[in-house]
Amino acid sequence: MKALVWHGKEDIRCDTVSDPEIEHARDAIIRVTSCAICGSDLHLFHNYIPAMMPGDIMGHETMGEVVEVGSGVNGKLKKGDRIVVPFTIICGECEQCKRGNFSVCETTNRNKHLAEKVFGHTTAGLFGYTHLTGGYPGGQAEYLRVPYADATHIKVPDGMTDEQALFLSDIFPTGWQGAAQCDIEPDDTVAVWGCGPVGQMAIRSAILLGAKQVVAIDRIPERLAMAEAGGAITINFDKESVVERLNELTDNKGPEKCIDCVGFESHISMAQPDSVLDRAKQMFMLENDRPHALREIIYVCRPGGIVSIPGVYSGFSDMVPMGALMNKGLTIRTGQTHVNRWTDDLKQRIADGQIDPSFVITHTVPLSQGPEMYRAFRDKQDSCVKVVLKP
């Protein structure tokens, strides 16, 4: 089959690989009908997250049709079922899964010893996301083996298109969790840093969850326009001071709820000298992350407010203003998304027409164009916001 394979920094190739096979009783294999490139894939593209190996298949936003099931799937799936595959592999049985903390499932990471060394305790296995989280082949491919398939799936209702359902795999529940964990109240201002696909979903989620006003921050005009279309007031950080504008919009008190949809690859610019210093330190392995957005968030957030961090951080971040965080009594909530905690509800909201996540798709191309689309998405060329690949 064809698959997008990581060969090194900025080196993704559309390779011919052998087809996946059932390895365990709880495995299933799907024929992929749609998959997408995520902002998290860019971190791997840039080789910032350790433990990628040449030959790893990329991709964790995938859906398709079940073509084979192992003997232990116990009727939970059958051939021909259409499923979306959550990016977090879950057993459904461990203590964390039972609490709905699916992204920290204790069972599914087959390289637990690595994760325990790096994080202290293991987190869930993830598709196409380094050997720290299991080294599972990803879904930017024609076929995907889904481990623990009896639990790791979201069934697609009849009549729902691929485009509507695909983002249940990651970015829709990610934006939703980012907003939901803000405990939004009707008089809240919710500020969202980053108007990539995750930010776009967080903006819509905050609107659905009833925020008084949603403010979106980025510098890419088409992404800001899309944010505005979704009901946000926008701030272009290249053109105006984020802190000043946010204070202006909130009676000088700062937004109650702040969502970081940027993560550790904050834009580098001379106007934000800390980002340049971070980048220099990153280059010489003195720091892993560029947490400019997070610093800004902690600084501007209203005392007593909530900082929600769906954006990915990879390791050590310097100069995070702990003094402001502590003295203002901020609450931090973060995590890889507990996808299946939210998807039944979100699927219903799509079916009810409350939201249609396909709005974010700007490019639909054959899988073979994947390598060039990684570049276009990274460089924000051709007004690219979200790429869907068709195997």
Partner: protein, 180 residues
């Protein structure tokens, strides 16, 4: 075909049979080559400055050559990183410095003046390569490439924003505030 990475795959995992076209462009590859060249040259200048000074008839300036070696290493690391264009431009600046230093050694009394001249020609060629590569990368990564579209019609709410506002808001118990 043998692929090393196939060794670490589990039984049911796909293994590479043959590789296809890469996301790396020719400019990316050239930058990588120049980056490694910087690392090699920098290491030589840092660890064996005498070899450089002897060849160029500039004995006594080993300290300077070492410093240039360090500079070269920094430029190399930057050129091998995602910010390769900044790395290449820092190489161009470094090449300029090299040229000035070499020119100062181009005195008639230097028995190695011929070698110095040859080195200058080489540095000149590499500077041109660095600059061209940086320009290519700039063009390739330019966000203005492709169509310009604004997505002003993409609300994502089939029933409109007004209908969407707060539909998922939970009915909340009245907040516990200080009673008066």
């Amino acid at each position: 075909m043998f692929h090393f990475s196939n060794l670490v795959r589990s039984k049911g995992d796909p293994k590479i049979i043959s590789t296809g076209p890469s996301s790396l462009t020719s400019a990316d590859r050239l930058a990588r080559g120049l980056g490694w060249f910087s690392i090699a040259l920098g290491t030589l200048e840092l660890l064996a400055p005498h070899r450089v000074t002897n060849a160029l008839g500039m004995e006594g300036r080993e300290g300077l050559v070492r410093a240039y070696g360090l500079r070269e290493l920094f430029a190399g690391v930057m050129t091998l990183s995602v910010e390769k264009r900044a790395g290449l431009m820092s190489r161009v600046a470094g090449d300029g410095l090299d040229m000035v230093t070499l020119a100062s050694e181009l005195r008639p009394s230097n028995p190695r003046a011929g070698t110095v001249l040859a080195a200058m020609v080489m540095v000149g060629g590499i500077t041109a390569l660095d600059y061209m590569c940086a320009q290519d990368l700039k063009a390739q990564h330019d966000p203005r490439r492709g169509r310009k579209r604004l997505y002003t019609d993409r609300s994502g709410f089939p029933k409109g924003i007004t209908a969407a506002k707060g539909v998922a808001a939970l009915p909340r118990p009245t907040r516990s505030t200080a009673t008066t």
